[in-house]
Subunit: 266 residues, 3 copies
């Protein structure tokens, strides 16, 4: 199984699928092709949250603002999963989550040994998803995850671009949390990095200066009303029941969020 | 085969696919993930029109404004098809169409027996597509459709939320039809619930007070011109050749449509 | 393997997949369903660029402004590939590219022999993707590509609608190229039909009167800056690093592009 995630829209991912299907008969599963453009951090967040639901697979990821530069190709083995993509940090947060307590293994790859077969000319400088990463994913896919080192084109490395998603700072008495908007989902829900525990025992909080009710479900408030809830990722989300939280709270990816809690009511 | 239909956009459906692929090796087919948000009726319409083209399959449907409330999970057996989703009516119109003259069988499901494996924490209150419905679909998928009752987690029921899509009222002399806009498709075609027969033998009609030519094909009028035609669902559609009918007629899903016919010309 | 490309959005392609899966167990791969609406030329361009990356397959294409008219169904055999769709030219540029030096074979098809099984009424006048082209693709898919003539519904023809994508006129001293915008991709990159060679040995050029730097990669200019580069199709593209070239250059599909080169610096 090879999953594919990009910020490409269409039809570029189809060319990548063609390349993969020339070389493997793997099942292909789309994760998303509309990640925010060239936003390495947003893609890393979504992949960290979604990929753990998959069985062992090769995960091909292309969000790559540095395409065509000397930015390397990276292969990460995380427990029974393998991730392939640009060495710009995007693979690291999902790989850490997938690895759990096991050690992450990193490999560089000899691009010329796996890449584009020249069918339509030399590898491009603008579409490494098709010309470099898809061939690389096909090359590692056929291999047992236990023996990645047997892939001639791979070479173990300890040097790669790291990326850590920001953590929220929660005061020790849990009266206040200073966090960030990690992502806005397609419903407009504002996903923060404040752990969901912050809402425990609270019926309301102050988010960036405004009082907001806390609810266990969207339907705990009336339609069109704002709420704070624990989202499906385990973090505090700022949402609107059947509406857009990003519009209602005026928040976008990367913005700061200050949550202040009333005293616990427990 | 498991089909998947949601109003989720991306990448949430990918998490559902991961859950399914952890538990089955079924072929997965996307129906749509951009149904109008939380619009149970629109989803029910589209599924009623699209699912009958599929061979026997499990159909996983999540359009679920009541996620996290005590709204139940419903499993409907309709002839050789099985539908799984929230008990809010969305499954009923497609299931009735699929069942044809056979009897619909309904089951409740013990969510704890099939649900989320705890891999990433307890089931969420906001993403039952991943944590409840996908596991439920995987549980019924492996089973022969003749023996759903052998699935331990299922219990036959006769009580579920019904939903009937509105019908148009056509006067007995067929001079007038009062109907509703069931859906707008991605081309902007306005799909009504007035049976296509209403156009038979007519070269024009009056739609909400305006005279519109009747055509058998889009190309029967010039580009940019409005027409009424029999759409691919068998209903009267109000369209524009190579343009958007919803804009031209000022109509949206749920709006009333009054069609008045000239005398038959046959 | 059957690839599917349309301008349908959702959920109409799902109905086509249902029809295909009733009749074959082929692997289905989406190429795109958001091609510019009813734009035969744009679809032909993208398919010409993307389909050559696929292994031998049946390619089902529906961009069909003439749906329901007496426009025929066309089947083209191009080397080991077979293309199925409306006879309006859309299949021809990709088929020529796939055929390479081999000869293109064209067939008409008896629509009644392969079409819609009447499950939900007669074939529609507005959705031939579901009622005619998908059944036709399923009919040819099962067949060896060497023996298309054995498909009873097919009849060899030499008469079909041709389509040639426009070529750029490059002056013999390569000081000037007069071309066209073939497509805008989802990033906003402006894909012209001027061969990439035009940029060789140049560090800047004049595009429609404005001086633009030439770069080998997007990252060769600072973020938000315009550049001309050789895109992944081998043509000159007018782009913005991490921005939209179409907006910055004020260009859309079909527009004229005049490129004037400084003297070669080699």
């Amino acid at each position: 199984m090879i999953t594919i995630a990009t910020d490409f829209g269409t039809p570029y991912p189809a060319a990548m699928k063609g390349v993969l299907l020339q070389r493997t008969d793997a099942r292909l599963v789309d994760v998303a092709h509309d990640f925010p453009r060239q936003d390495v951090r947003a893609a890393a967040f979504w992949l960290r949250e979604v990929l753990p639901y998959f069985p062992p697979a090769t995960h091909l990821v292309v969000v790559d603002p540095g395409v065509g530069t000397d930015r390397d190709t990276l292969v990460l083995r995380a427990d029974e999963h393998v991730l392939v993509g640009p060495d710009n940090g995007v693979l690291v947060p999902p790989a850490r989550r997938l690895a759990g307590t096991t050690e992450l293994e990193a490999y560089g790859i000899d691009e010329r040994a796996v890449s584009h077969d020249g069918r339509s000319g030399p590898a491009s400088n603008t579409f490494h998803g098709r010309d470099v990463f898809a061939p690389a994913a096909a090359a590692v896919h056929g291999t047992s995850r236990d023996s990645l080192e047997s892939v001639a084109a791979l070479e173990a490395t300890t040097s790669y671009v790291d990326l850590e998603l920001p953590s929220a700072a929660v005061e020790s008495d849990e009266s206040r949390a200073a966090g960030d908007v990690l992502a806005i989902d397609d419903f407009g829900n504002v996903v923060t990095n404040v752990p969901g525990d912050f809402l425990e025992g609270r019926s309301r909080l102050v988010a960036n200066g405004e009082v907001v009710p806390v609810g266990e479900t969207f339907a705990s408030v009336s339609i069109g009303t704002r709420l704070a809830t624990v989202g499906s990722h385990g973090y505090v989300e700022l949402d609107v029941n059947q509406g857009r939280g990003d519009d209602a709270f005026g928040l976008d990816t990367g913005d700061r969020v200050i949550l202040e809690g009333d005293e616990r009511e427990e």
